[in-house]
């Protein structure tokens, strides 16, 4: 069936179909449609919607619901996500699953309300204090927003870790026609063992009491947790990298881009192919874990890479780490909420070639 939805609303529908139990958030543009939609729909489904007094409160309400083993989500945009970093660190330290969505806008500071990809560093390097990561998914279409939101809870529960879905305000605001029945955009999260819920706090009936905390003061205890988390992160790095290739087999130059930048780059690639230029595109879908190995493999043929972002150079650091000096890495980006155009990408490719 064909359907047309706004990115922000696809997120809501995906989350509901993924089993969302409770949603908490504080208003911020450009993702206000999410709260408006959930406020209307969740109570009818017997689920929880609550407008929090701040992003600090919102993320901690998520923390509370996550403690009970129920599926909680919050959404915000860049400045609000900065406020949530404390809570995200605690969620990771306490190993609580939940879904956090950042519909990115321009920064730093209050910035503007236009779409951007300026939060790549914050998203992929933990973001808050301590030694931790969140799984970061970067959809590039309305269909992917829907599918990622739907499967993100499973992914979060599989690893007892927050999952962050990030996309720019352009994707959040745009409406797009998509095919609901196609398999396109599915994450296909594999669940090997039944999800462990033996840690949830729901009352100590017929079992010993439980506690959940990240404060570990005894000697060596915290390091033990950090090592346990590392083992988990290593498993995620092994099993959950997702990346999509377009025309890379014979490509002499490869664009690397995600989200809206990838859409624009795809258009540029197709136009350049028509001119006979051997251009490919690598689109990381998980920004953490990053596709280091997969990108390295491409350097066997392509010796030039152009990283395209809606910031002034963040993912490029990961691409450089990935190619390990085997290829030259160039950059093109627009910042401050400006969208890159396919024309600009084409100019840059021609300049490099």
């Amino acid at each position: 069936m064909k359907k047309i939805l706004q990115g922000n609303i696809a997120l809501c529908e995906g989350a509901i179909d993924g089993g969302l139990d409770a949603y908490y958030a504080y208003p911020i543009t450009p993702q206000n449609e999410v709260s408006a939609y959930f406020a209307e729909v969740l109570p009818k489904l017997g689920k929880v919607f609550l407008q929090a007094e701040s992003e600090l409160a919102a993320i901690n309400m998520v923390f509370g619901t996550a403690l009970t083993g129920k599926r909680a989500m919050t959404t915000s945009s860049s400045p609000g996500i900065s406020l949530m970093q404390e809570g995200i660190s605690y969620l990771c330290g306490c190993e609580l699953p939940c879904v956090i969505v950042n519909v990115m806008r321009g920064g730093p500071g209050l910035g503007n309300i236009s779409g951007s990809q300026q939060d790549y560093f914050q998203s992929t390097r933990g973001g808050g204090h301590g030694d931790y990561y969140t799984i970061v998914l970067a959809p590039f279409s309305v269909k992917e927003i829907y599918e990622f939101a739907k499967e993100s809870f499973l992914l979060a529960e599989k690893y007892r870790n927050p999952v962050l879905i990030i996309f720019d305000g352009y994707l959040g605001q745009m409406m797009e026609v998509f095919d609901t029945e196609s398999d396109e955009g599915k994450l296909n999260v594999k669940i090997d063992e039944p999800i462990d819920k033996s840690w949830v706090l729901d009352g100590t009936k017929n079992r010993p009491s439980r506690k959940i905390h990240s404060l570990l003061m005894a000697e060596g205890e915290l390091e033990k947790l950090n090592l346990k988390l590392k083992e988990k992160y290593d498993k995620i790095r092994r099993d959950e990298v997702r990346v999509k290739f377009y025309n890379v087999d014979d490509a002499e130059i490869c664009i690397v881009a995600y989200g809206m930048s990838a859409r624009v780059s795809l258009e540029a690639m197709n136009k350049l192919r028509k001119e006979g230029l051997k251009v490919g595109l690598i689109r990381p879908i998980t920004l953490w874990p990053f596709s280091y190995k997969e990108i390295k493999d491409v350097t066997k043929k392509a010796k030039k890479f152009l990283v395209v972002e809606m910031n002034l150079g963040q993912m490029i650091e990961d691409v450089k780490l990935a190619v390990k000096g085997e290829a030259q890495v160039y950059f093109y980006g627009r910042s401050g909420g400006s969208l890159v155009s396919s024309k600009e990408v084409i100019e840059n490719i021609k300049r490099i070639l």
């Binding site: 923390f63 509370g64 403690l67 009970t68 809570g87 605690y90 009352g203 017929n206 404060l215």
Partner: protein, 245 residues
């Protein structure tokens, strides 16, 4: 040998706590545990421990307890209560946690009339970080960060939480007790019990402020601290029921 009513409640673990000699937290922990046992709600209670001296409360109570970021217990409790409305959810917070860094969270949880219970321990000083000024520190009171005494024109006035929250429509039971002598302790326990009963009856937000002793933070002996709380603190923070609707 038969136990009287003066034996350790089931809701306390066998572990010994690490509070300083004469610290009021231990008494308050026990009161909460007694009330939970007496109301027979241990199996459905979920507590939230604060950041502060009571951060380890989850090691002392024998029911489900979680930590929370500093000041955020009311938000965490909200997240639990909203998805598990038939459980009994309470937060245990100190004066820094509730009345400084967590002011927004407590006011809004109260104003939404979240059906939770808040145990608010006011000892006028930041014990865990070695005795700095708290929002409830009295004027003239010397602390690590008010070495010449708290001054209104620099530090503002002691924050009256019960009085402040009582004016909100969302609050259903607000009382202030103390743990300085057996009479006060028994009175405080009756407030705590009433607060939990409000929650059980789905009446909405309840809070009990408890004036407590922090001998280390106040640089007093336990007995001096008791005397000071009784004679000085209760003058500024009068005991009693502020709201019961």
């Amino acid at each position: 040998m038969t136990p009287t009513k003066f034996v350790k409640p089931k809701s306390l673990k066998q572990t010994h706590h690490s509070y300083c000699p004469g610290c009021g937290h231990g008494i308050i922990h026990r009161l909460v545990a007694e009330v939970i046992d007496e109301l027979n709600i241990r199996e459905k209670t979920i507590g939230i421990a604060p950041v502060g001296c009571a951060v380890f409360a989850y090691d002392y109570w024998d029911f489900d307890v979680s930590e929370a970021p500093h000041g955020r217990p009311p938000a965490v409790a909200t997240g639990i209560k909203r998805v598990l409305p038939d459980r009994i959810v309470f937060t245990y917070q100190g004066d820094g946690d509730l009345a400084a860094i967590g002011t927004a969270e407590i006011i809004h949880a109260a104003n939404r009339s979240e059906n939770i219970t808040v145990i608010f321990v006011n000892n006028t000083v930041y014990g865990m970080t070695s005795g700095q000024m708290a929002p409830t520190t009295l004027l003239g009171q010397k602390t690590l960060t008010t070495p010449y005494g708290r001054e209104a024109n620099r530090d503002g006035y002691p924050l009256k939480v019960c009085e402040l929250l009582s004016v909100l429509d969302g609050t259903k039971f607000i009382a202030r007790g103390a743990v300085t002598n057996p009479k006060n302790v028994i009175q405080t326990k009756s407030y705590i019990k009433k607060a939990f009963i409000k929650q059980i009856e789905n009446k909405g937000f309840s809070l009990v402020e408890i004036l407590s002793m922090c001998p280390s933070g106040l640089h007093m002996t336990p007995l001096e601290a008791v005397k000071w709380v009784e004679e000085e603190l209760t003058k500024f923070f009068p005991l009693g029921v502020y709201k019961d609707v």
